[in-house]
């Protein structure tokens, strides 16, 4: 198993270089086959790694540079625990799905697409495995650069370029903030290894520590699309090809939150332990605002992919709230939620890709009733909406139950209600699309600015839905269900989260190679109340969708849906598509978060 550890990063990179070299004359099918095989092999490797670290995390020292006396680390390590490993597994599964889906599309990309996807996958795997701060940054930038290029893949229209450009500017500024934060931490501790930094910082949390925490976490929250750092996400998703959106929404964004959790629990926790409550409040406020902004903007959009993008933002707020509870249980809830949301959202984006393939349009008003004959896609689409509502039997239910219960225990009583809001409004928006596009109910949908940006179809032939498109979409949606079927998954997640949050155990394990005790299995509380809550959310979503579609027939009761659908002009205006605006908001957000951290944690 140890030999396997570097392979999810190394093999895709080497294959990417090989494909870039021979892709030009080796032909399309060869590149497709080889890249899918590589991604599939990575699924196997990351699954084996997950199996290997299930009971005991593993530390792997590159170049065979083990820690020296006095805890000095000169090399780089991968420190893999079950949480990092399961996220890498998600990465490789989604990449495989995306590559299979793209079997029939991108006829004219000169085979540059597959190498970039493989690099993207390798970077995200490395990002979730690494135990070194600067290595984390390197993988952050590697996945960013691959993502920028993938985002601007369709260069026949100006919109993808604008989306990719905005994405690149905001994320690169965030990246430089991370470097500044790393520099500050290095000045204090003279180390780059998480464990060594954590040990060296000790319990001394002064303004410098807070500043570096601020800079690094803002950089990662920019990736995680937390309001007000989120503006790039909708632009990028609206224009990126569907299989790329699967990776963006399904896992790249979640990795931002994961990185905040990783660095908080391995480095800053004991230094900031006195201020846990204040810090939790900051995360909660950020998460709450993100839920609201994402939710309202989701319902107000009629561009299919942009709608899904805003729903990602909204759910991202929930995940930040889960992680931001700063407890093991909240973290476990975040991981389960991220996994299930990732596969469900991936499936939904693939459905949007199928719609684009068959009907050549992506705006809701143009699509009205035209999806009637596409019943397999319609079925998957409505299942996806169901999953977004968190209803049984989808895995989102497990995340919801853990985060909600723990939030109540931490006196954050609004969190369960926020879940209901987010689930109802995002699932409502997706169901609204389902009723209008696939069933042709109600009147023609209204439109908005963003949905006028049409997308050129990714394919040539539009008569059938190829199996290669339907299969990955179905597989992802089914995965979203099957997470619930894994016995004891909540207990396992919580046990591993306990290990994740144990800073001194982590340092012992990495620096002194001391095995930590396995925490006790946790009792799993019954899901009954959670099923009721998400059931309410599902019913609300259904009501919202039906009420919107049949607004005229139902009458005045449902008139508010018009403003939900078409109003929010202030919010809309803020999403201006201007990179200067986005960076101004990034600065303002940093100042606000930083100001409140400095104030609360003094």
């Amino acid at each position: 198993m140890t030999t396997l550890i570097p392979l999810p990063v190394a093999i895709p990179l080497i294959v990417a270089a090989f494909l870039a070299l021979v892709g030009h004359w080796a032909g399309r099918r060869f590149c497709d086959t080889l890249s899918i095989a590589t991604a599939g092999a990575t699924v196997w490797a990351s699954a084996t790694i997950l199996h290997g670290v299930w009971l005991q995390p593993v530390t792997y020292w590159f170049g065979n540079w083990w820690p020296r006396p006095n805890d000095v680390v000169l090399g780089i390590c991968f420190r893999i625990d079950a949480i990092g490993a399961v996220i890498a597994l998600l990465v490789s599964v989604l990449t495989t799905a995306g590559l299979v889906f793209s079997w029939r599309i991108f006829e004219e990309t000169e085979n540059h697409f597959q190498p970039l996807m493989l690099i993207f996958m390798a970077a995200m795997c490395g990002f979730s495995y690494t135990g070194d701060l600067f290595n984390l940054f390197v993988f952050f930038e590697l996945m960013s650069v691959a993502a920028f290029a993938l985002c601007g893949l369709k260069t026949l229209e100006p919109a993808p370029l604008q989306g990719a450009y905005n994405f690149a500017i905001v994320n690169t500024v965030g990246g430089f903030m991370i470097v500044l934060g790393i520099g500050l931490l290095y000045a204090r501790t003279g180390a780059l290894n998480f464990a060594q930094i954590g040990r060296s910082l000790g319990t001394h949390g002064d303004a410098l520590v807070i500043l570096s925490f601020l800079l690094i976490s803002v950089g990662f929250m920019g990736k995680a699309a937390i309001v007000p750092f989120h503006f790039w996400l909708a632009d990028a998703h609206a224009v990126a090809p569907s299989p790329v959106c699967v990776l963006f929404s399904g896992v790249m964004v979640e990795l931002g939150v994961y990185a905040v959790a990783r660095m908080y629990w391995s480095m800053f926790h004991s230094a900031l332990a006195m201020h846990t409550d204040a810090l939790r409040n900051v995360f909660m406020v950020l998460g709450g605002i993100t839920c609201l902004v994402g939710g309202f903007m989701c319902f107000a959009n009629h561009h299919l992919k942009r709608l899904l993008a805003f729903s990602t933002i909204s759910h991202e707020g929930l995940m930040l709230a889960g992680m931001g509870l700063l407890t093991a249980k909240g973290l476990a809830g975040f991981v389960l939620y991220a996994l299930s949301h990732g596969v469900i959202k991936g499936g939904l984006f693939l459905c949007a890709g199928i719609v684009l393939h068959r009907l050549e349009r992506i705006g809701e008003d143009h699509l009205h009733g035209r999806g009637r004959h596409m019943w397999p896609t319609a079925l998957l689409f409505v299942l996806g909406a169901w999953g977004l509502a968190g209803c049984w039997p989808f895995g989102t239910l497990l995340g919801e139950s853990m985060i909600s219960e723990d939030a109540v225990a931490q006196h954050q009583h609004w969190v369960p209600y926020m879940f209901i809001f987010v689930e109802a409004i995002t699932a409502g928006a997706v169901m609204r699309v389902f009723f209008r596009v696939f069933l042709g109910w109600g009147e023609r949908a209204p439109t908005d600015e963003a949905s006028k940006v049409e997308e050129k179809p990714e394919t040539e032939e539009h008569e059938h839905t190829p199996v290669m498109m339907l299969l990955p979409a179905a597989a992802l949606i089914l995965l979203g269900i099957s997470i619930t079927a894994v016995p004891g998954v909540r207990s396992a997640a919580e046990v591993n989260a306990e290990r994740f949050v144990d800073q001194s155990g982590y340092a012992q394990d990495v620096l002194n190679n001391a095995q930590t005790a396995t925490p006790e299995p946790k009792p799993e509380e019954p899901l009954r109340s959670s099923i009721v809550r998400t059931g309410i959310a599902g019913v609300l979503a259904l009501g919202l969708a039906l009420g919107t579609v049949f607004r005229r027939r139902v009458g005045r009761v449902m008139e508010f849906t018009r403003s939900l659908e078409l109003g929010n002009s202030l919010l809309r205006r803020l999403h201006s598509g201007h990179p200067g605006d986005y960076v101004a908001w990034l600065s303002a957000g940093t100042a606000l978060v930083g100001g409140s951290l400095m104030w609360l944690l003094r």
């Binding site: 930038e141 290029a149 370029l161 520099g183 963003a450 201007h578 990179p579 200067g580």
Partner: protein, 115 residues
């Protein structure tokens, strides 16, 4: 205070870079401002690893044990420079391409994605 000047200069350059990006009226200018913002990380890393009286960490002509400045920050900066150059190259090609397709490099006029 005086001895912290270099760190403040890093912050100063960082803020100017941000200012340039925010107020830019030309995407090429904006990319250059991003490069300027990047230099703030150089200043910080460079001065953080500096040791009074230290020489360059190259032991070709000096014996091992001579006080030298920290080599690690220099290794980090090398990576940093590559990141800057590559991101700038990628961004520039996007700007050129969007000029070809939309005939403008003014972010104000290039607002296709809104709402």
């Amino acid at each position: 205070m005086m001895l912290h000047l270099s760190y403040f200069i890093a912050g100063w350059i960082f803020l100017w870079g941000l200012y340039g990006i925010v107020t830019s009226k030309n995407l090429v200018h904006q990319v250059v401002c991003l490069a300027v913002l990047q230099t703030s990380t150089y200043v910080l890393l460079l001065t953080v690893g500096y040791k009074v009286g230290g020489t360059a960490p190259v032991f070709a002509d000096i014996p091992v044990g001579t006080p030298v400045v920290d080599p690690l920050v220099q290794a980090l900066m090398l990576t940093d420079i590559v990141v800057e150059a590559t991101v700038a190259a990628l961004l520039l090609s996007m700007v050129v391409k969007s000029n070809e397709l939309a005939n403008t490099v003014d972010p104000e006029e290039l607002r296709i994605l809104t709402g």
